[in-house]
């Protein structure tokens, strides 16, 4: 299997890579920090990946996207599966005071996904097989005062991905929207941990399984499906008064 991981230094993405490495897959890792990339690559080689290539790119720079996808295709001799995982939680309090900061957060979390998805959808449509997964978030299911810039971006990604899934289903390509709940990773390092926090390994294994099976929308850990069902169904007139 030939797998491209975009945002490969994310703690969650790395756990997905580990599952593929154990299957002796060939991996193409994209991230912006060369030292972190090298550490991730070494780990995957030891774990059994048949080939590991790394590629440095700032994913907020949309002009890098075409080249990085081509580089991946060339390095691995094709691509069977892709995971898009990079992201920034951002500081809602600070960002809401600034149009620029708000759009920047939206840019890296949503616009860069839309750009990558557009290019990759065409690749997979032509190939007529494969698996394309993106990491959204439960935060994208409903707008909340404490986190709506990030949430809106994740929501946009989910909607866009749904459209791509609908389009590519016709040619037998799987498109997976992953919606993790809280995960204990560098992104949440500053948050106080409670029982709702999952380990990245648990979430990573679930994403790997979903990519192989070609699932559609995956809440992980699964109890988030129920939580979000309830949250989505609270009437807005009540919801808007809640401190969330």
């Amino acid at each position: 299997m030939k797998v491209m991981i975009i945002g490969a230094t994310s703690a969650i993405a790395h756990e997905v890579s580990r599952c593929f490495a154990a299957d002796n897959a060939a991996l193409f890792l994209v991230a912006r920090n060369a030292e972190k990339l090298a550490a991730a690559a070494d780990d995957l080689k030891v774990l059994g990946a048949s080939q590991v290539e790394t590629y440095c790119a700032d994913l907020a720079d949309l002009s890098t996207h075409g080249a990085l996808i081509e580089a991946g295709k060339t390095a691995l001799g094709g691509i069977d599966a892709v995971l898009i995982a990079h992201g920034v939680l951002g500081d809602q309090q600070a960002a809401q005071q600034s149009v620029e900061a708000t759009l920047e957060l939206f840019h890296v979390n949503a616009v860069s996904y839309i750009s990558l998805l557009t290019l990759l959808a065409n690749h997979f449509e032509a190939q007529k097989q494969g698996s394309l997964a993106v990491i959204g978030s439960v935060a994208g299911d409903r707008g909340r005062g404490s986190n709506y810039i990030y949430g809106a971006a994740k929501g946009a990604v989910a909607l866009f991905t749904g459209g791509v899934r609908n389009r590519l289903a016709k040619v037998g390509v799987a498109v997976v929207t992953v919606k993790p709940g809280f995960v204990d990773t560098p992104m949440t390092a500053g948050m106080k941990k409670n029982l709702l926090f999952a380990k990245p390994a648990q979430v990573g294994k679930r994403i790997y399984a979903a990519m192989l099976k070609g699932e559609d929308i995956v809440y992980t850990p699964p109890f988030w499906m129920l939580i979000m069902f309830i949250i989505r169904n609270i009437p807005e007139r009540i919801f808007k008064k809640l401190k969330l």
């Binding site: 703690a11 920090n33 550490a39 070494d42 030891v46 390092a189 999952a198």
Partner: protein, 444 residues
């Protein structure tokens, strides 16, 4: 899952100012800028206060869990300090390798195993874990990163092995694995009626058995005093390697803190009676998977919660071989007449392979590990009495299991501490270290 950042014994309980996870070797936080004292924290499998830093900062090393290199020919592996033994086993056992030595739980980190220079059932042939470490990289609070090995920064190398996390963060380490023919152990259990018999079996087993350990019944007195079961084994070669799916599962989880009356003299006595007599014949031979052989306690998740909210103390000491029989007998007698109950009692003879760390605990002699539910003053008084006996014999207490030994007892156990202390990182400290060095209690 949330983590509680306490120690395995849940005694003492500590409050930390903050916990900082360390995720990358090459994107490290500025330690100098942090206020107060710092201490690395692995999986918190130390029992007492050596992994705690009351009012200070803990540096959670567990996200640092990547492999760096593995040589399948020589079995030399290099990995980050937070790699969990359980994960490592899942990786190496199917490839025909095993840990050079392992403690009685696989839920420890590589860094933690080095910092306590842990020992296992094969100490008499393999020595401590630190013996198999070829090099590691140490991060000091001023940001310097030092390569340490027996030839490079040799002093810091031997200060860090068994150095209780006080010399800096072990970012990664390299060590030698041991070849195995398969994941099974040919195990023998032998019933013994008393301490003298234990020593006879132990002596007879050391040559031909790689792994030896014994369980002792600490509640019975009189002519049953010191009875127990000797367990010995060798790697069995005639079984196949497991496939990927052979990952063992834990059987049970202790769901909450049980009321502390669950473990009392009567339940323990009943258990011991049953366990001792469950061995129907004097000797029982069996081929068993490595998991239940090395990690019987890991079968029950969070078994430490059986001790309730008050927590428990583990007491592990070593006494030199010459004085052993008298001392061990005296200690068992003291315990059985004290009315304080030890649920677990593990006895093992250490070999004379030299430990590499300045503060390593293992040394030639016999070691006994006991668990005591914490019942306040009576428990502490009993342990002080036991200290006295251990000290008179020239023995030592294991810091990884300790929450209460006196500064005098520490100095007597580790006369080398004077050579060690200059290597302590100026910003690093622990609850344990402040206690035995009689430094002010605050982590600031």
């Amino acid at each position: 899952m949330s983590r509680s950042y306490q120690s395995w014994g849940n005694y003492p309980k500590a409050k930390h100012q903050r916990v900082i996870p360390i995720h990358w070797r090459d994107a490290l936080p500025d330690l100098q800028a942090l206020e107060g004292s710092l201490l690395p924290y692995g999986y918190g499998r130390s029992y007492g206060d050596s992994c705690l830093n009351e009012n200070g900062t803990l540096l959670d090393i567990t996200p640092l869990n990547r492999y760096i290199a593995f040589d399948a020919e020589t079995g030399v592996i290099r990995c980050e300090g937070g790699v969990l033994f359980a994960d490592l086993l899942n990786y190496i056992v199917p490839r025909g390798w095993f840990l050079p030595t392992t403690p009685g739980t696989k839920f420890v980190s590589v860094g933690g195993a080095i910092a306590n220079d842990v020992h296992g059932k094969n100490h008499h042939v393999a020595g401590t874990f630190g013996r198999h470490v070829t090099c590691f990289e140490l991060l000091r609070s001023d940001g310097t990163r030092l390569m340490c090995s027996p030839t490079e920064n040799a002093d810091l190398f031997s200060a860090t092995i068994g150095g209780l996390g006080l010399t800096g963060i072990i970012l990664w380490a390299e060590f030698k694995l041991r070849r195995i023919q398969g994941p099974y152990i040919a195990q023998e259990k032998i019933r013994f009626g008393g301490i003298d018999e234990f020593f006879d079996i132990s002596e007879a087993s050391d040559k031909d058995y790689e792994y030896t350990v014994a369980w002792v019944d600490c509640v019975s007195s009189g002519d049953k005093l010191g009875r127990g079961i000797f367990i010995r084994g060798n790697n069995a070669w005639h079984h196949k390697l497991p496939g990927k799916s052979a990952t063992p599962k834990t059987l049970l989880t202790a769901p909450f803190d049980l009321p502390s009356f669950a473990l009392n003299l009567h339940t323990v006595r009943a258990f011991n009676e049953v366990y001792y007599h469950a061995l129907l014949t004097k000797v029982q031979r069996k081929i068993v998977p490595y998991d239940p052989f090395f990690y019987p306690l890991d079968m029950i998740n969070e078994w430490n919660k059986f001790y309730g909210n008050a927590g428990f103390l583990q007491y592990q000491f070593v006494v030199p071989y010459a004085s052993d029989r008298g001392a061990i007998k005296e200690i068992l007698r003291q315990i059985s007449t004290s009315g304080v109950v030890s649920f677990l009692a593990v006895l093992k003879v250490f070999g004379d392979v030299k430990s590499p760390g300045m503060l390593s605990f293992p040394r030639p002699g016999v070691t006994l590990a006991l668990d005591f539910p914490y019942r306040g003053a009576p428990t502490l008084r009993l342990l002080d009495r036991l200290d006295q006996i251990v000290r008179e014999c020239g023995g030592a207490i294991y810091p990884a299991k300790d929450a209460r030994m006196s500064p005098q007892m520490f100095e007597a156990s580790f006369p080398n501490w004077r050579a060690f202390s200059p290597h302590v990182d100026p910003k690093f400290s622990s609850s344990f270290w402040r206690r035995v060095m009689q430094q002010p209690a605050s982590g600031k």
